[in-house]
Symmetry: C2
Subunit: 173 residues, 2 copies
């Protein structure tokens, strides 16, 4: 629920979506439908409450405000650190493993190399973003994040490439 956050200052759905687009342009895009659906759930859970309707030249609109419980939930969310997942989610990882299962080490190696090429290219793009003088700090911080993780992938690709033959042997035993 990304929305507990956006409700800082009561707003109605449309405004929320706009605020989101403006403040978090680097984050996953958010559709209108999503906003209202989520607002509905938040209201059901008592985290937000409607704070009046009006229609100042335009269609009806319902303004929502955070409740006490809502603010508590937000505080809690901000205070909590992200619990680490006990498993690996990445498609990259899965694909290589599946390649080892259904094909051979060569196939897996091909995939690793192709992915490395793509990542390296993307890395160059992002570095360009960082040095672009028109970049905001938002942009730079987001680019840094992406770069760090691409780099992590690349390092993993490197060590895994060396291990792929052994791994293949282990998988087929």
């Amino acid at each position: 629920m990304l929305l507990g956050l956006l409700a800082q200052g009561s707003r109605h759905g449309y405004e929320l979506k706009r605020a989101h687009d403006q403040r978090l342009p680097r984050a996953r895009p958010l559709a209108f439908g999503q906003v209202y659906a989520t607002l509905g759930r938040l209201q059901r859970d008592g985290l937000v409450a409607p704070a009046g309707q009006d229609r100042d030249g335009g269609p009806d609109r319902t303004t929502y405000a955070l409740t006490g419980a809502g603010r508590d939930a937000l505080d809690l969310w901000l205070a909590e650190v992200e619990p680490p997942l006990p498993y690996v989610t990445s498609t990259l990882f899965t694909k290589v493993l599946v390649a080892l299962l259904v094909a051979d080490a060569g196939r897996a190696r091909e995939y690793l190399v192709a992915q490395r090429r793509a990542h390296t290219a993307r890395l160059r793009e992002l570095t360009a973003v960082k040095t672009d003088p028109s970049a905001t700090l938002d942009d730079v911080v987001a680019a840094d994040f992406a770069i760090a993780h691409l780099d992590a992938d690349l390092r993993w690709l490197h060590t895994t490439l060396e291990r792929v033959a052994d791994w293949h042997r282990e998988v087929h035993s």
Copy 2:
């Protein structure tokens, strides 16, 4: 659809789930319901087809096999590199930005520090996994992946901590 893969060698649902648990224990867990639902979709899309039913001492079971189209789709999936997301998905990133929005730089910094502590602890755990002599290559490769990304987070946390005051200023302008 992680399942196109598991269908290497025709199998019925229950078997697939078991094979998944055995081969991909480090990946996201997979529920039975999920398997049958996904098989249904794959069948609808013509990627798998039922290959006979039997009941050798036990309930009815339907065996599924990959179709030609299914094998093509799998090959395609394995050949494709992952397209990079144009946006940043991480909760970590979002939380810090939201903290800057609703609170102040201090709050965001607190969060970054707490997250750094948690990550560092997790990093130690994973390093222990790697040196454990009973670890399989599966385990080691998965741990490597996780370590690389934790490290990426840590580096991002570091540079972001230094920028948080500036960022806060930019966000509130």
